[in-house]
């Protein structure tokens, strides 16, 4: 390992053997499918549990990036796969994964073998099973963190991998874990959300939140346990999954998520069932030994930080001299817990491009920058951007110049053009309407970066159908594509949020046509700007003035 490169979780012989054997197993399944021994119906759950979807035009392979953490070496492999097996790009998703839109079925085993060589896989990135556990993209470097949540994400990754009891759940199952007060992992809209807390003795553990989710029935998760000691982490997850597997609905896939079960039983009865199950297994073999927690924690130790002044003078000077750099600093940096360091976000939302896409050469460039400036580590955010977590303030100006070279210096993190969008009708066979072109047109409308900075923080989220993969329910401005007599229409919701103040947006009024939706978004933004007081954020302004001024702006002339 080159000096200065920080170790991340590394596979031991067991992890490596497991993933290698999984590749061989899937190669055999693909051959049986190609020979006709397996029907498409029988092959479907097998390929899904290896991340392979059949989409509108081709197969799509979704590769797991556990808790969104990648090494530069892994990123170079992702670039290579994009080049060698796809059309030269990859797409980062809201589960912190990457997907490729054009792989050939017969080459997928080769892709999985390439991934295994850099300790990666595509296990359970789709299918009705436990999906990739997501986390705070600032884990380990956030100033407001109790502990690095990725230790528990990794423990969950291993436990959930080919879990024999939970391979055929009623529906997909998503877990998110955060260690910070500020919720960047959207834990209240997950099947299980775990929020690290301290008890009265000062020990760290988890608040357990169950039954949140988006989709056609958006629900905010409910706390079923205020404090779970860490050693019971796995047994409690197993108890929840076991209750869900036995009692979750299977007659209607739209009512099969755990949120429906929690609501049907009532949270008290659901909690009683989970606690009763847990009591009978909590002291069994799933009780986590401290030695395993420590073993995994060691992999997430901080890099060798230099002792630096909290403010770098040359950085301040560069910021003062260069307005474009200053804008990037304002939008794209986050506070680091270590003095003299910064967390640098790389936006994958340039004007006019598909949100979350990156080319093979950009992926390689990011890997090089991670090696040069960030101890060889990269994070993926659920908002479809990337993060370099360990950048010295003194290096920021050089990093920004290098990012500009690679067309990766867009200064719009958290602004109106930093849009989450699902693949939509351009790729997905579930979609009713296009998402990506709507996102592209919004970024073009708000192309003036100074205008975006004047508008300030604003989350726009677009889904091409009611399944809500673009998280529209929790956008300040949510846009949902619907089909009306064969025409694409877009319903706008206002006031959603996915953070610690999780809220589901409210529909503002009748849907807009594809041609009119961008004007409508602009109308919402202008209404906000006209009405806000001081630096009031969008949801606070909406709460104060209500929907009426927005309705008046959007529909008043009709």
């Amino acid at each position: 390992m080159p000096r200065g490169i920080k170790p991340m979780y590394r596979y031991d012989e067991f992890d490596q053997s497991f993933v290698d054997q999984r590749v061989s197993q899937f190669s055999d399944q693909v051959s049986r499918r190609l020979s006709g021994e397996l029907s498409e119906e029988e092959f479907r759950p097998l390929r899904l549990q290896n991340g392979l979807y059949l989409q509108l035009h081709a197969y799509m392979l979704r590769v797991a990036v556990p808790y969104g953490t990648l090494s530069a070496r892994q990123m170079r492999k992702l670039a290579h796969i994009a080049r060698r097996y796809d059309r030269g790009y990859g797409h980062f998703t809201t589960r912190q994964n990457i997907q490729y839109n054009w792989p050939l079925l017969e080459e997928v085993p080769d892709i999985l073998a390439e991934l295994a060589a850099v300790e990666m896989h595509a296990i359970q990135t789709s299918g009705n099973c436990i999906r990739n556990t997501t986390s705070d993209q600032y884990a380990g470097v956030a100033a407001d963190e109790i502990e690095d949540p990725r230790v528990y994400c990794e423990i969950a990754r291993q436990w959930s991998s080919l879990h024999p009891e939970f391979a055929f759940l009623p529906r997909k199952f998503k877990i998110a874990i955060t260690g910070a007060e500020q919720d960047r992992a959207a834990v209240r809209v997950h099947d299980i959300g775990l929020q690290m807390r301290r008890n009265l003795k000062g020990e760290a553990g988890f608040e357990v939140i169950v039954g949140g989710g988006l989709g056609r029935t958006p629900v905010i998760g409910k706390t079923i346990r205020e404090f779970l000691p860490k050693q019971h982490f796995l047994s409690y997850l197993e108890a929840i999954l076991r209750v869900y597997n036995q009692y979750g609905r299977r007659d209607n896939k739209y009512k099969a998520r755990i949120k429906i079960l929690v609501n049907a039983l009532g949270v008290e009865e659901f909690t009683r069932l989970v606690e009763a199950e847990w009591q009978s297994i909590k002291d069994g073999p799933l009780a986590l030994p401290q030695a395993e927690i420590e073993r995994i924690k060691a992999y997430f130790a901080p890099p060798g930080y230099e002792s630096l002044p909290s403010v770098d003078e040359a950085f301040l000077q560069a910021r003062q001299d260069n307005p474009a750099f200053a804008r990037w600093v304002k939008a794209n940096l986050a506070e680091h817990k270590q003095p003299g360091y910064a967390i640098a976000n790389i936006s994958l939302k340039p004007v006019g491009e598909a949100p979350g896409d990156a080319s093979d050469s950009q992926l390689d460039a990011i890997a090089d920058l991670a090696d040069r400036y960030s101890h060889g580590e990269i994070r993926i955010t659920h908002e479809q951007n990337l993060v370099l977590p360990y950048v010295k303030q003194a290096d920021l100006f050089a990093l920004w110049q290098d990012l500009k070279e690679a067309d990766l210096a867009t200064a719009n993190i958290g602004l109106v053009s930093d849009i989450i969008a699902c693949p939509g009708l351009d790729y997905c066979n579930l979609a009713n309407a296009r998402s990506i072109p709507v996102a592209q047109r919004i970024t073009q409308r708000f192309e003036d970066l100074q205008r975006q900075h004047d508008i300030g923080s604003l989350k726009v989220k677009i889904s091409g159908c009611i399944n809500a993969c673009g998280h529209h329910h929790v956008g300040n401005i949510g846009i949902l594509g619907v089909d009306k007599k064969g025409q694409e229409f877009y319903q706008i919701t206002l006031g959603g949020s996915a953070d610690q103040n999780t809220a589901i947006g409210k529909i503002v009024g009748p849907a807009f046509s594809y041609d009119d939706v961008v004007d409508a978004v602009e109308g919402v933004v202008e209404t906000y700007q006209d009405n806000r007081q001081d630096d009031e954020d969008f949801n606070a302004c909406l709460a104060r003035i209500g929907l009426a001024p927005f309705k008046e702006k959007l529909y008043g002339n009709h």
Partner: protein, 171 residues
Amino acid sequence: MGIIRNGRQVEDSWVYLANGDDANNLPHDLIVDLATWRENKTDLTARNGRLGVKLASHEVADEIGDDASCFDLIVLDFPTFTDGRAYSTARILRERYGFSGELRASGQVLRDQLFYLVRCGFDSFEVADDRPLAGWFKALSEIAFVYQPTGDGRPWILSQRHSDALAEQAS
């Protein structure tokens, strides 16, 4: 319908109770459903013969509970292979209620489920006749290391990791 047990295809003596069966002349190895069991517990346990029960996929392990020890065979049904409830039922019967008889999977039982089924405690399988059986047993050895402790007794990775560490400390 073929039965696979202990790693090979075997002749099967078990017979499902059918409508119109003569109560005085039942097969020696008899499988009943849950309702029949509940209504005829006394007669069925007093009978001279072996007894099995078949649970539909919505019938959870707690419906049998401590009665598990009354049976030589429990059959759990998979109406489709995507209905995974019986995996939980199997583990709870084995690991909580201590069922030690034969645990059989019926319905849509496919080769690529075998690994999960065995890990959850199943030890016999009703297999449709039109299925090639070659490769079925390979399915069990495709993945050598496992991340979960279940009642199948296989060591799991976490315990293997730390037993190695303990052995190193001792040497």
